[in-house]
């Protein structure tokens, strides 16, 4: 069943997990044959910004050598055939330009979200 996942909570333990766990689970489910699409809204639209760098975390002698790279993770989802969309107004409200985003993500206006949701048989809100 074609499923739309709406991701709104952003940077939820991403440093600890070295990814966003919801983005991650979609990659895992896609690998298991799931038919998925993702809509980013709210602060989660920032996940699409290419030039973000979570590197540099260190505690004593320990260094995090594999920081999260969520924009790349989303690009990987798109490459696997998962449609990636974002709410255009949420992007604009945060001062993010479209040319800052990874390729392949499609804008959806806030007024069109209802129609988008209605086009899926199942919707999950994360």
């Amino acid at each position: 069943m074609k499923t739309l996942s709406i991701i709104e909570s952003a940077y939820r333990a991403t440093i600890e997990e070295q990814d966003d766990t919801i983005v991650w689970i979609h990659g895992a489910m896609k690998g298991a044959g799931a038919d998925l699409a993702v809509l980013l809204r709210g602060n989660a639209v920032n996940y699409l910004v290419q030039r973000q760098d979570a590197g540099g975390l260190a505690f004593g002698d320990w260094r995090q050598t594999q920081p999260p790279a969520i924009a790349s993770d989303l690009a990987a989802l798109a490459a696997k055939g998962i449609d990636i969309r974002y709410v255009a107004e949420d992007l604009a409200e945060r001062g993010i330009e479209r040319n800052e985003l990874i390729n392949g993500a499609q804008p959806v206006s806030r007024t069109a979200v209802g129609e988008l949701v209605g086009s899926y048989q199942r919707v999950w809100y994360w």
């Binding site: 909570s9 939820r12 333990a13 895992a28 489910m29 298991a32 799931a34 199942r122 999950w124 809100y125």
Partner: protein, 137 residues
Amino acid sequence: MADKKTITIAIMDAPYESGRSTTTLRLIDLAAKRGYNINVFAYEGAVLQPFSAQKPHPNTVHGRSVEEENHFIPKDAIASLMQAAEKNGGKIDWVNCGLCVDERGAVDAIPGVRRGSPADFWTMAEASDNTLVIATR
């Protein structure tokens, strides 16, 4: 039961951190009373919900002993829900995300809980009448 329903619930919150955990268990309770088959995919901190090492404690602020306090223990609630589901002709298939278990050392869970992966969540959702995601906020 011709109209037996199957639902899948994904939960993420760890015990004692959010009212969403209690809400989830209340929804499961209602479904169990109706004899539904209930699939639960516990993701991230929620794998600690059925952690078998949970122990009740007394509460000196309340002035109550451990017996008097009757502290809420999620693993016991889950075990009770499993029994209620069976009694009413349904069942609870509780799947703990295996990687989430490993990173938390939460290997020991009550009987009836099994280890799984996101593929199990997808499979359970596909076989259900409906799916509810209760994510951490």
